[in-house]
């Protein structure tokens, strides 16, 4: 992990919903691996203090400038709004690369990348690395609506098979990723699944993967205080190796990529049931 002031090389819109920042940060870009993230400090006054963590969408180590990292995000609040207002050549305070990455399989060949909404972001970097390692890459992206699919044209280029689902039917299958996942696995001969997206989606993807006897590597998203392993905010409940107990481990530096089978998904059930109740109940 390093912290530096870096220059924004480019800021572009990615479709209607997403912003992309390309940042000149060679020390980070040269060593970054898929699934790792960077922690950006929004240029706000003291009203919003914390950094915003973003998985790495892509690194470029071959351009005519020093190596860059690219992140993709949508505006969720004042921090991301401030980042979305940043312009080319402005300096930005960046920490990275952080966390445990996805691992490239040694024996398995056929890899399916399952991304929900903006969660598809780190799977582009991963897909490129998997292809460089000679693996088959297939893609299944889901989102609420077509405009919330991340870079679908590039996804089609990346995947041997690329399929989409949308909640409103505006692109691909009308419904959820999990409704077509089994069929995709069979059609593509999938041997490993990589997923990133909403927690409930990843829980279901893991369940289906395990039913097919396939490993699932999941990249968790959690609120982070520091993003460097200090504050204990972002913990994920993970079963011990021998399955005898659950430990709260730091998503930032012990994750964000975990073996899906080890995550204690039912720990979240209560929280999600309560969140589903409308205000007033």
């Amino acid at each position: 992990m390093i912290q530096q002031m870096a220059e924004i090389l480019n800021h572009r819109k990615l479709g209607d919903e997403y912003h992309s920042l390309t940042i000149v940060a060679p020390e980070i870009a040269e060593v970054a691996k898929p699934g790792q993230f960077v922690n950006l400090r929004p240029p706000t006054d003291r009203s919003y203090l914390l950094r915003r963590p973003f998985s790495i969408f892509r690194v470029n180590r071959r351009g005519n400038v020093a190596a860059t990292v690219e992140v993709v995000f949508d505006i969720r609040g004042p921090g991301t709004a401030a980042l979305a207002a940043m312009r080319r050549h402005e300096p930005i305070d960046i920490v990275g690369p952080i966390g445990r990455s996805f691992t490239i399989p040694k024996t398995q060949h056929s890899c399916l990348l399952v991304g929900g909404g903006v969660g598809a972001t780190p799977l582009f970097f991963l897909g490129e690395e998997l292809q460089n390692a000679g693996k088959r890459v297939d893609i299944l992206w889901g989102a609420a609506t077509a405009s919330r699919l991340v870079a679908p044209i590039e996804a089609k280029r990346l995947g041997a098979v690329a399929a989409f689902t949308t909640d409103d039917g505006s692109e691909g299958h009308h419904g959820l990723i999990t409704e077509v996942l089994g069929e995709m696995i069979q059609r593509c001969g999938t041997e490993v699944i990589y997923t990133c997206g909403p927690r409930q989606m990843m829980a279901s993807v893991t369940k289906i993967a395990l039913e097919f006897g396939i490993p699932a590597q999941v990249a968790m998203e959690e609120l982070m205080g520091c993003g460097i392993g200090v504050c204990m905010t972002c913990v994920t409940p993970v079963w011990n190796r021998d399955g005898t107990g659950i430990a709260n481990v730091r998503t930032c530096v012990d994750g964000p990529v975990f073996n899906g089978a080890r995550i204690a998904w039912d720990r979240y059930a209560k929280e999600e049931a309560a969140a589903a109740l409308p205000a007033g109940n």
């Binding site: 950094r51 993003g227 392993g229 913990v235 709260n248 720990r267």
Partner: protein, 288 residues
């Protein structure tokens, strides 16, 4: 210095800064047995602040002694062990294990729920404060700092109880009890329902606490903390009466804050021709 819970045991931060340059590291509070902490979400960002309900997740005093302390000792930085517990007995047992450890001081985090008193915080009651501090005092020979909660009617009364029970100094302040609610779901923003607020939002509360306690006990060492973001904030705490200042939440935002603030502090002092921070201690100009 660093504030407890905002620097872990220094290992992660050593990737960013040279720990030797710090006055001391106050490590994350340790308990007798490992604590798993609370459910997530554990944190919510609020205006100029950070609300947290971590639940003192830590691996226990024995892990600290076998894993963290040997490494910290090699870094040649003074170590202050922060200890916590749910009973007076637990505080005493943790302190006992630290008795011969190479630490410079113990900070007693009495902002913990007291299981023997309907989960009231020790730091909210003079008698509970006194019981814990005197129990710890019997166990260790190094100086003891009592870390006090600002969420009390009379901070000077609690400070007095801690000092009478044998505390050598005071750490002011722990987080401010607070709550944030998500209006769309009507859910508290942290799973622990209420939490502790840190960051610049609480700095004026902390400065007031340091000032009040320093006025009441001018000869007692005070480690001031709460929302320090830069060198001017450090000076503010010293003017109020702090003899040392700790950095908390700022480490999350800027892991190099310790270095940068020290360097800015040096510049501030030479530009004002101030020889030492000690000369500025408590020098706020108050009429009367």
């Amino acid at each position: 210095m660093t504030a407890s819970g905002c620097f872990a045991s220094g290992r992660e931060m050593s990737e960013f800064i040279d720990l030797k340059k710090l006055g001391a590291i106050v490590v994350k509070s340790m308990t007798l047995k490992p604590w798993a902490g609370k459910a997530t979400p554990r944190m919510a960002e609020t205006s100029s602040g950070m609300l947290n309900a971590i639940g003192l997740q830590n691996k226990g005093v024995d892990h600290f002694l076998s894993n963290d302390l040997p490494w910290l000792t090699e870094q040649k930085v003074p170590v202050i062990a922060s200890i916590a517990g749910n009973t007076t007995q637990e505080f005493m047992q943790v302190a006992e294990r630290l008795r011969s450890a190479p630490i410079q001081a113990v900070e007693v985090n009495i902002s913990c729920p007291n299981l023997e008193d309907r989960n009231n915080m020790f730091a909210h009651d003079p008698q509970a404060t006194s019981a814990v501090i005197s129990a710890v005092r019997r166990m260790v020979d190094v100086p003891i700092f009592a870390k006090l909660s600002p969420n009390v009617t009379s901070l000077t009364a609690i400070a007095g109880a801690a000092l009478e029970a044998g505390a050598h100094g005071l750490s002011l302040i722990n987080t401010v009890m607070a709550m944030a609610i998500d209006v769309d779901s009507a859910m508290p923003k942290v799973a622990g329902v209420v939490g502790g607020l840190s960051g610049p939002a609480i700095k004026p509360i902390a400065v007031r606490a340091v000032f009040e306690v320093h006025q009441a006990y001018p000869h007692v060492p005070i480690i001031g903390m709460g929302g320090v973001m830069d060198a001017r904030d450090v000076i503010e705490f010293v003017l109020a009466g702090a003899s040392a200042v700790a950095l908390g939440t700022v480490n999350f935002i800027n892991p190099k804050a310790g270095h940068e603030i020290l360097s800015d502090l040096g510049q501030f002092m030479s530009s004002r021709k101030v020889g030492s921070l000690a000369a500025m201690r408590g020098q706020v100009k108050v009429e009367g």
